[in-house]
Symmetry: C2
Subunit: 434 residues, 2 copies
């Protein structure tokens, strides 16, 4: 028989649809194998082999979902901040990334996985190079991820061809791997880094492999202007014409969008990964999230990389999403707390085409986090959803399960040796800088 984990006495935040997305009650949560067996107010009789967890003082909720990032770039956290975007890219990011070896990708990804797990993220979308390293780190860590080889196509044709083949090989090899925890997509990096005919080849491959597409789009005003100058249309229409939206598609950023572009995204079911921290820090602007949501576009949350954020705590993106759209629009009802929380959980899961994670319900995959709600910022206990969004953070996360397996216990990672990961990240940075 499957050993179960029976968590008693905790507060339960299911994020399930029928419960207005945000209901906190007290009860029992049972994980069996990789699934949730029971969640509800009753008790469940334990068998001798079951693990019993005392949930008092904790709130159990779905693991957070980070729908856009580049995990390996955590090595570049704080390397340079607060400079012009072109200076930052051309003088700091690109020259350092050019020196990246597979081992650096592994070191940076492991660091990001530790940071994400410890702050309550159980699933992440990742776009980078040396993706076998990323997939192996995900497999070993126990995390869930949607991975892709992000391809920049500003290169000779034979290099383009090799990159595309590599992206296809990776997507084919790892889709469904690690007990189904890993899925893959095709990922032309962005309309401004891939020629149109090259993007079309990714669309073709996505159709052949029956995979979704992930790409950057309309992050800065400048790239939108340049797209219009080069191709006669703005990025949304450009990608639509290239067939990108004929596949299930998630675009990152979507900061600079017209009403017409929002309608195109809505009508094609294109999701937007909103990255408020990174967009603010790089001075890209503020995405039109209330308008996107009103039009029916699915909006989820991403950190982008730790080089432009500079952390991977989705709770902070949830809070930013709940705050900045109020401040910028002048409407204090914009993006209420419970909606921001949905963006960081269930909407994130659906944005990555995952239908069995993102809520706590019987039969769903057991991706669960425990939040310690005994601290001063959770007092008095007027509204735990409000407290989570406006006062909570990843630092409150004490325990994490993914696919039914406990990966963090009492704020300590069980599958990755934190000390080793930090030492290797520091060693990698020294080498990259030297």
């Amino acid at each position: 028989m499957t050993t179960r984990t029976i968590i008693r006495g905790g507060r339960l935040l299911t994020m399930a649809e029928g419960e207005a997305g945000a209901v906190v009650s007290e009860g029992t949560l049972v994980l069996a194998g990789d699934r949730i067996e029971y969640i509800g107010p009753g008790d469940v009789e334990a068998r001798p082999e079951d693990e019993i967890v005392d949930g008092r003082g904790k709130l159990y909720m779905p693991g957070l979902v980070n729908t856009h990032g580049h995990a390996a770039m955590s090595l570049l956290r704080g390397l340079k901040d607060d400079v012009n975007l072109q200076v930052w890219l051309q003088e700091y990011m690109w020259p350092t990334e050019a020196k990246y070896t597979a081992a650096d990708v592994r070191a940076g990804t492991e660091l990001s996985i530790v940071e994400m797990l410890k702050s309550g993220t159980t699933t992440f979308m990742d776009m980078y190079d040396h993706m076998d390293q990323v997939a192996e780190a995900v497999e070993a860590s126990g995390m869930r991820a949607c991975l892709n080889r992000g391809v920049i196509g500003l290169c000779p044709e034979e290099v383009q061809r090799a990159k595309l083949e590599e992206a296809i090989r990776f997507a084919r090899a790892w889709n469904g791997a690690a007990d189904g925890r890993i899925t893959t997509t095709m990922a032309p990096h962005a309309p401004y880094t891939c020629p149109p005919e090259y993007i079309a080849k990714f669309v073709e491959a996505a159709h052949e492999l029956d995979l979704p597409i992930h790409t950057h789009m309309s992050e800065t005003a400048r790239e939108v202007e340049e797209n219009a100058a080069a191709y006669g249309v703005r990025p949304v229409e450009h990608l639509r014409r290239l067939g990108v939206f004929s596949r299930p598609c998630l675009v990152a950023h979507g900061v600079h969008l017209t009403d017409e572009e929002i309608d195109i995204l809505a009508s094609h079911g294109v999701g937007v990964s909103h990255n408020p921290g990174s967009n603010l820090k790089l001075a890209s602007g503020v995405a039109r999230v209330p308008a996107l949501r009103k039009a029916g576009v699915r909006v989820s949350l991403g950190t982008d990389s730790a080089a432009s954020n500079n952390n991977l705590d989705i709770f902070r993106e949830i809070r930013l999403a709940a705050l900045i759209h109020k401040g910028v629009s002048g409407d204090p009802t914009a993006v209420p707390a419970a909606e921001a929380l949905r963006m960081g959980t269930v909407e994130g899961a659906r944005s990555l085409w995952l239908n069995d994670v993102g809520t706590l319900e019987a039969g769903m995959k057991a991706d669960v986090i425990a939040v310690d709600v005994t601290g001063p910022h959770y007092q008095p206990e007027a509204d735990l959803v409000s407290h989570l969004v406006y006062a909570g953070s990843g630092a409150d996360v004490s325990d994490v399960w993914v696919n039914g397996k406990q990966l963090v216990r009492g704020r300590v990672c069980l599958t990755l040796d934190e000390e080793r990961v930090y030492a290797e990240a520091n060693a990698a940075l020294r080498r990259l800088r030297g």
Copy 2:
């Protein structure tokens, strides 16, 4: 002889002027009595009675300064969010606050003190009612504070007179109390809640008592318009004419300011307490911080109350201050990390007219916090100032000293019983709601 605390092996962030405000080195920090005796790279020989602290893995920096808030309102955290400002005030905040007893003020203030201390704030500015309770809580907790009875003057003349007398009595009684940890100011609540002639009486009292003035100003566009309609001038000129700026003065918010108004504030040495979290959440807007700083106005950071923030972690305001002005202006060099950190430390201290806190230097008051920099979000160690601002939070604070006395050790408050404080806050909320 004075017992000393000798902290060895920690990283030291002095925030001292000559060191560009942000230098991290490794060395020794010695606290003796209420002052810093030594800070530097050398070692200091210990005497038998000295306490020795192992500072490895910690960064020692000046305690944070919160320059605007209403501590007692933490009881209302999460009571209602995400509604129109007038609904929030008239249906939720004011009716509940009207029921506040002195005991409620004490309970809310103690909860806020615990939250502030545990997240690294060592000094706070507080404006509320029943201020003897606040002052007694500050005295008992060991914290440093600048306190005032915030007076709303929309009431009959005899009530106005009684409130003014109470404000004067409080300011006189507590200025310099608790070994100098408590200072006081006069505080007419705001131009829109106090008739002009009543504000003038506070100015007169401030001159007589030789005290500064603290007030709310230009938080919302609506109050600015109403001020212009009622008095023919916008709030800045209104307060200038009433003599408010003839005293040392700190205004809270200052969201809606013209260039001319910024010049008036600069020329009168008026400080602005920037409250980005609260301003965003209440949809008041985004203060013109880069313009204020360029004009030479001293800008510090405040949380406002936990009812509108909804937390009291100044690290989060530091991060917001470093992020939102970039995003809104489109300039990624706006409010660099080190400047945001100065706003939360030394600029905060100077804004409260405190010249011997806010930096770590020999001879300064020993208001020191230790930040645990061993977590994943501080790796790799490229730039600890960047990491503190963009990735850190109050949850990383492990130890706090104020006036040389340790108030938090290993994340536990030493002077207030956290369990009792939380229980009393919850009991108070139940009574207020019932």
